[in-house]
Amino acid sequence: MFLEVQHIIKSFGAEKVVKDLSFSLKAKQTLSILGKSGCGKTTMLKTIGGLLSPDSGKILLDGEDITETRPEKRNIVYLYQEDLLFPHLNAYENIAFGLRLKKIPEGLIKEKVGHMLHSLELEGQAEKMPNQLSGGQRQRVSFGRAISTNPSLLLLDEPFGSLDTGTRQRMQELFKKLTAEYDITSLFVTHDLKEAVLMGDQIGFMQNGLLTVYSDKKDFIQDPQTGVQNEIEFWGGLR
C-alpha cells in the first residue's frame, strides 16, 4: 500500500479527537472521507500532513516511516477549506510558489505553470491578483499550486465547501480530470454525501474520531450510520 496509517491517536488536552486511526490507500487512488463537523477530519488530515504531531501511532508513505518527518520534507500538501491564495502574488506566482521553493530552473517553471494554467482553464488569468479572481478561479489556482509540486499525497479539507452548486460540480469534474492526469493520490474530506460518493475510489466514514473505511461502495450505502439510506428514503418519498 502507498499510504499506511497505523493506530494514530491525537488528543487536545483531555479530549481524544482522533481515536485509533488505521487505514491504507493504494497509489493514484482517492479516499473520500465523509463526516460531520467536529468529528476529527481536519485533525486527521493535519496529523497525516505533519502539521500536528500524533500522540501515538505510525504513518508510512511509500514504505517510509514519516511520523517524525517535518511537514516540508513529507511532500504532502494540505489544502485548506478556503481558497487560501498568497495575497501578494498573482495567479501565476501562486502556482509557481512550490516550484520556486524547490529551486527548479525558471524555464521549467514557466513550462509547468503554463501547462497547469491550461489544464485549469485559466489562460489569460495568470497576471491577475487573488482579489481579481472569482471563487471558482481562486479554488482552481489553489489546486494548481498544490498539484504543480507533484506531491506524493494531496490532503483536501472540504475544498469545495464555499462554492455554489454549479461551480462545485465543475470543480469536482476538474478534480477528477487532474488527479487522473497527474497521478495524484489523495484524501478528500467532505461533509457532502454525494460528493463523497462521486470523488472517492474508496469511501470512509468518520464519527467521533473513529474512521471506518468501506471496501465497497455498496457497504457504505447499506450502512445506516452513513445517512445514505435516509437520503434514499427522502428522495424516494418525493415521488
Partner: protein, 284 residues
C-alpha cells in the same frame, strides 16, 4: 439628501484641512521672499540665496533623514521580530495593554524620560557610578545631546515601535498569515523561507505606506530633538523654530525659507505616494 452628505464632508475637509495649511504656506512663502514681514522691504531672493549658500538646511535635512531612517528601520525591524517571535504571548490581555501604554505617552514626556535616564547625571549614569563602572559623570558615554543622536533615536523607537507591533499583529491576523505559513510549509517551505516568502512580503507590502508616513512624521518631529538634540546640526523642525524666533529679523525670513523648502519636500513625497492610482492593495 444623500448627495449633500459627501459635499459637506468635502467642504469641512477643505475648511479645516486645506485652507489653514494653504494660508500658512502662502504666508511663509511671502515671508521668505521678503514681501511681508516687519523689516522686509519688498520682493527679494537674498534669503533664499543665503539659506541655500550656507548649507545649514542641507546639513540639517541630511541629519534629519538619517535619524528618521535609522529610527524607522530599527522600529519596523524590531516590531517585525516581536510579531514573529511573541505574537501568541502578545494576544494576552496584560501584554497587549503594555504595548498600548507607550502610545499614550506624549513625545515631550518620552524625550524628558530619555534625558532623565541617559544623561550624564541621569539614572543609568548614577547606577554605573554606584556599581563602580565609572568614577565621574564625564566618563558616562554621550547618549543625549550627542552627535550620533542616540537619545533621539531611542525616544523615537520607544514612541514608534509599539504602534508597528500593533499594526503588524493586526495585519497578521487579518491577512491570515498563520494559515498561509502552514500552507507554505506544506508546499515545502522551511521556517526561513516562510519568513522570507510569506511573513515579510505580506506584512511589508500591506503597511509600506504607513511606514513611509511615519518616516515623514519623524523627519518633522520637534519636541524630542529639541530636548535631546545637539547644537549643530539640528533636526529640521528645531532649526526652523530657532531661526523664526531669533532677534535678527533677517533670520526670520530665512527660517521661513527652510519651512517652505521642507514643506515642498514632504508634499512632493506625499504626492508621489498617493497620486498614482492604487488599483489594488498589493503591487504585483
Amino acid at each position: 439628501m444623500k448627495t449633500k452628505k459627501p459635499n459637506i464632508g468635502i467642504v469641512l475637509f477643505v475648511a479645516i484641512g486645506v485652507v489653514p495649511f494653504a494660508a500658512a504656506f502662502v504666508y511663509a512663502l511671502l515671508y521668505s521672499f521678503g514681501i511681508i514681514g516687519v523689516a522686509n522691504q519688498g520682493f527679494t531672493l537674498r534669503f533664499w540665496e543665503s539659506v541655500l549658500a550656507s548649507g545649514t538646511f542641507f546639513k540639517s535635512l541630511g541629519y534629519s533623514v538619517v535619524i528618521a531612517l535609522v529610527a524607522v528601520s530599527l522600529s519596523v525591524g524590531g516590531a517585525l521580530w516581536v510579531t514573529l517571535k511573541f505574537r501568541r504571548q502578545l494576544e494576552k490581555r496584560i501584554l497587549s495593554f503594555v504595548i498600548y501604554l507607550p502610545l499614550a505617552i506624549p513625545g515631550i514626556v518620552t524625550g524628558f524620560f530619555t534625558f532623565q535616564l541617559f544623561s550624564k547625571g541621569g539614572f543609568f549614569a548614577r547606577i554605573s557610578h554606584k556599581l563602580g563602572f565609572i568614577t565621574e559623570a564625564s566618563q558616562f558615554p554621550d547618549l543625549v545631546n550627542d552627535g550620533l543622536a542616540v537619545g533621539i533615536i531611542l525616544s523615537f523607537i520607544t514612541m514608534v515601535m509599539p504602534f508597528f507591533v500593533l499594526l503588524f499583529l493586526n495585519v497578521y491576523k487579518n491577512e491570515r498569515i498563520e494559515e498561509l505559513s502552514i500552507l507554505a510549509q506544506s508546499l515545502g517551505a522551511n521556517s526561513r523561507q516562510v519568513v522570507h516568502c510569506v511573513f515579510l512580503p505580506i506584512l511589508i507590502r500591506k503597511t509600506w505606506v504607513l511606514i513611509i508616513l511615519y518616516f515623514i512624521f519623524l523627519l518633522g518631529a520637534y519636541e524630542v530633538p529639541l530636548i535631546l538634540g545637539q547644537e549643530s546640526p539640528q533636526m529640521l523642525s528645531v532649526l526652523i523654530i530657532q531661526e523664526i524666533k531669533q532677534y535678527d529679523l533677517d533670520k526670520i525670513s530665512e527660517g521661513y525659507v527652510v519651512a517652505v523648502l521642507y514643506t515642498l519636500l514632504v508634499s512632493v513625497a506625499a504626492l508621489a505616494l498617493f497620486l498614482p492610482k492604487r488599483k489594488r492593495a498589493y503591487a504585483s
